[in-house]
Symmetry: C2
Subunit: 184 residues, 2 copies
DNA sequence: TGTTCATGATACATATATGTCTCATTTGAG
DNA sequence: CTCAAATGAGACATATATGTATCATGAACA
């Protein structure tokens, strides 16, 4: 065996996330250049553009699942689990955004994993409802959609350096559960 | 003068919004076909792809401004104005999404109009803070980002037929101001 | 009815992205 | 040091999108 640059594949995936998030229509040449790799090498790792896209999607799903699993590990309630999962997702929001808005979801395996995650979120929200965290009268789907979109909001402020990840997570959770009303 | 199809331009813009929202990398041929128009005719109205993109952006900005202006007309407070603007924006969210995520914002005029709208939103939020609607301690930028992202959430549920526009607007406003906490 | 003009279809040249291939170079293993 | 393997550079054919130009058609208008 002789692998000269075992990190090439990871470097390409990393560069692809950054490049495609900045410009979804970017060429593979742009990605390769950003990864500091020849275009031919990119094709050696990912035979076609769509193969690369699916790899990105799988990476995003796997990273999210791993991050959430680790974050939720010691949670004492479904509510606390949701809160920790929200905080853990914020740094990964850019890749989740990529996953949600790229037509990669036509890939069966990716679509299945994505739907499974959404289903799991709905289950946790229902469990949190039972714990009294959310109003039973509010549709679970709305809570889930708010949850996800507030994560994007949080990520935007963290990205722009206006808030720390912790501050953003706290604000997002407060918004979701208590809202932003004034004291008066 | 002799204009056989005065609606061509509007039809193209409409088709472009739909086509690009479904697939941002779609070709002008796709757009023309979706508009029921020849590709040559599309180029007669919009000389290049970027010209079309800027036209879409301007359309989105103008539509949003018009809708908000009309909705806010009789508002008795900044808070009520924000609430009405939120409801009025939900049906236009798809186009706002297009505007926010397409690199069209490099166009100076579009970027200026976009920034002006954001600035105006911040001003209204500050005014609503003064009315006691929002906690002064919460960054205005966070409220604005939550406001916009909850609009996307509302639009998603309306699009999927799970809520009416009114229901979605009410839920988004409640989430923003009071949160989704249960009664217990 | 005849004229005008937007239209659709089509051809065309150009540019760019893609995927394959070759080859000299470099890197790491033995 | 020697050798095998991966790499970068580049050539190459192909596909697709783009923008322009041409032309016959048909609808509106006088």
């Amino acid at each position: 065996m002789n692998k000269i640059r075992p990190g090439s594949r990871d470097a390409i995936i990393e560069a692809a996330f950054q490049t495609f998030n900045a410009r979804p229509g970017a060429s593979l040449g742009d990605v390769a250049a950003h990864a500091g790799v020849g275009r031919a090498t990119l094709h050696r790792h990912f035979s076609s553009r769509s193969v690369l896209m699916v790899a990105l999607a799988r990476t995003a799903v796997d990273e999210l699942n791993a991050a959430i699993e680790m974050a939720v590990a010691g949670a004492t309630s479904h509510t606390e689990g949701l809160r920790r999962a929200l905080a853990a997702t914020i740094p990964l929001a850019e890749r989740q955004w990529f996953l949600a808005h790229e037509p990669v979801l036509e890939d069966p395996a990716v679509a299945a994993a994505y739907q499974a995650d959404r289903k799991e979120l709905h289950n946790e929200i229902d469990a949190a409802k039972a714990e009294g965290t959310f109003d039973d009268a509010v549709p679970t789907r709305w809570i889930a959609e708010s949850y996800e979109n507030l994560i994007y909001a949080a990520w935007a402020l963290v990205r722009d350096g206006e808030l720390t990840a912790t501050q953003a997570a706290d604000l997002a959770w407060r918004t979701l559960t208590e809202g932003l009303a004034g004291a008066k």
